[in-house]
């Protein structure tokens, strides 16, 4: 190819377009628009700065995209068959999860700002790309692992969970974690074990009543004498104690329905599972319900909350579960009839003071929507009896027509 001369202007035209020269001359003669005063310029500059800041804020607060799998369906359960090869899942933010053979990992939520997995069994290694907008957490029964960007592995056994960090750091939370939370750094690990169930007590059954035909036997309907080894703790009279017979024979001890027993008391074989396990289970279900609700899977949330009320009705969190259920039924599923039942359950089981007022008020709201005006009025009177100047008094009046 030919070289250009230096200077290049040797092969450029020297003439200029006279039309452009005339345009310049005309422009110079034209009256100039008045210059904007400085004060006005500053005002416009400030407006521009404010707009730029707003645009920047909106840009920063924009919703990131939901996490997706690059090698398969996003919400597929990751299960590696025992004895097979590990299963690797890669995600759109370059994070990856490796499930060891025999492991099962369930994606609960892959949202723009939250990624939640449940390690149901086995072991898995997580490599989370740091600096992303999503908060990763892994539920593994006894503990929850929260992470921003790191590499760590979790092994879940039947009664224990081990978390080991190889890069970055994680927070491990759980009822059984010392102080309920532990900050793990590189190279650190923690193993959380489920406490062994208390030893099964040997309960002697009361001696069978003596046969009627035996000499000196008591009538069959009369209480039999207790043995010396009669257990004291798990039993108590169900009814007011009957007057003792003249011979001072003690009443027959009778088993009662399950009732919270002293911590050190022996448990029956049919006693509910340990309180810690119930608390962990309830917490997991509440978390699952919360995630399901945020994912707008309301029926799944209802299922999780109802399972708390059915299986752990005595759990301290059951009231909160009932209240949440009521709000879900009323606000998201528009089923006020079910909401009424849920709010009544919340009131019965007890919720924190702030929620209690809401529970009373929202029960009125649900009854009002059902056009059960009489019941709504009675519920409203209940509300005003407790909260004459409550935060929701105005709304309750509107829903119930109580003056």
């Amino acid at each position: 190819m030919a070289k250009l001369p230096s200077p290049v202007s040797r092969i450029l035209r020297d003439d200029v377009d006279e039309r452009l020269v005339m345009r310049v001359a005309h422009g110079l003669r034209a009256p100039k628009p008045p210059r904007m005063p400085w004060s006005q310029r500053i005002q416009w500059a400030l407006v521009a700065v404010v707009l730029a800041v707003l645009v920047g804020l909106l840009w920063a607060r924009r919703e990131p995209e939901a996490l997706t799998r690059t090698d398969g369906p996003a919400h597929a359960i990751l299960e590696a068959p025992p004895g097979g090869a590990p299963l690797v899942a890669r995600f759109s933010d370059a994070s990856s999860v490796t499930v060891a053979p025999g492991g099962r990992l369930v994606p609960l939520a892959l949202e723009p700002r939250a990624v939640v997995f449940m390690l149901e069994r086995g072991a898995a290694t997580f490599r989370v790309t740091p600096g992303g907008p999503r908060r990763w957490s892994v539920e593994c029964g006894l503990v929850t692992v929260e992470v921003m960007g790191t590499r760590f592995s979790i092994a879940r056994g039947d009664d224990d969970v081990t978390v080991r960090v190889t890069e970055g750091d994680v927070l491990v939370r759980g009822e059984l974690v010392p102080d309920r939370v532990r900050h793990l750094k590189v190279g650190e690990s923690i193993t959380v074990r489920r406490p062994p169930p208390p030893p099964r007590p040997h309960v002697e059954r009361p001696a069978p009543p003596p046969q009627a035909h035996l000499p000196g036997a008591l009538p069959a309907h009369q209480p039999a004498p207790a043995t010396a080894s009669r257990p004291q703790a798990p039993v108590r009279p169900e009814a007011p104690e009957a007057p003792r017979p003249a011979d001072d024979t003690p009443p027959i001890p009778r088993r009662i329905p399950p009732e919270p027993a002293p911590a050190d008391a022996p448990r029956e074989a049919t006693a509910p599972p340990p309180r810690d396990a119930a608390a962990v289970r309830t917490r997991e279900r509440l978390a699952r319900a919360d995630l399901a609700r945020r994912s707008q899977d309301y029926e799944l949330a209802v299922e999780a909350l109802e399972s708390i009320l059915e299986e752990d009705p005595d759990d301290p969190q059951a009231g909160i579960a009932a209240f949440t259920l009521g709000a879900l039924e009323l606000d998201d599923l528009h089923r006020p009839e079910r909401a009424v039942v849920a709010f009544e359950a919340a009131i019965t089981r007890g919720v924190p003071a702030m929620l209690l007022e809401d529970a009373y008020a929202r029960r009125v709201e649900a009854l009002h929507l059902l056009a059960r005006h009489g019941e709504a009025e009675r519920a409203a009177r209940d509300y005003f009896e407790r909260y004459p100047k409550g935060r929701r008094a105005e709304l309750v009046r509107r829903w119930s027509s109580v003056p």
Partner: protein, 196 residues
């Protein structure tokens, strides 16, 4: 312009810039017209080569002349009106290229290459030279404004390094550095005769 009001004699046309500036400062409109007539074409030609767009170069020329007329009283050496005006014009070209770069980053710039170097080639230029000029246009478009202007003044306009430094209002070392930086980018694509 105002030639009809004050018909210039041959002698007055030949007066130096010094006299014209003095008369323009005294309120003589013909003197301004005379300054315009003397300098508008060199300025327009150079700006066209610097920014590669004739229409934009015309706007910049008008802007540079207006600025020069408005600041005429600050010119200490009236005889140096030409170099001073050219300095203002080069500054305007620099500002325009910076603005163009920002618009390109924002995706708002529509290239208008009517006055690009390839379009300014003389009729005798070979097809290969025209192709080289087109390639040069594309390469120049990728350079930083200051580097592009320094290189264009040096290798397209043939200015000495000292003049490049004066026109771009920087030190000689800075001018050399800019030209070298641009040259490294351009050399990979365009062949030039002679030395830098």
């Amino acid at each position: 312009m105002h030639a009809a009001a004050n018909t210039p004699s041959l002698q007055s046309v030949q007066q130096g810039d010094e006299e014209l500036v003095r008369r323009a400062l005294g309120g003589d409109p013909w003197a301004k017209d005379a300054l315009f007539g003397r300098h508008v074409r060199p300025v327009l030609r150079r700006l066209t080569r610097l920014v590669g767009d004739g229409e934009e170069a015309a706007d910049l020329t008008q802007d540079a002349l207006a600025s020069a007329y408005a600041a005429l009283h600050r010119l200490r050496d009236p005889g140096a009106f030409g170099p001073w005006l050219m300095q203002i014009a080069v500054r305007r070209a620099h500002d325009a290229l910076r603005k163009r770069r920002l618009l390109r980053l924002l995706g708002l710039y529509q290239p208008h290459d009517a006055g690009a170097l390839a379009e300014l080639a003389v009729e005798g230029a070979s097809a290969e030279q025209r192709a080289e000029l087109a390639l040069l246009d594309r390469t120049l478009a990728t350079l930083a404004p200051a580097d592009r202007i320094a290189w264009t003044l040096r290798f397209v306009e043939g200015e000495q390094l000292e003049e490049v430094a004066r026109l771009t209002r920087c030190s000689l070392a800075t001018a050399k550095r800019r030209i070298k930086r641009a040259q490294e980018r351009i050399q990979a694509h365009v062949a030039l005769e002679g030395e830098a």
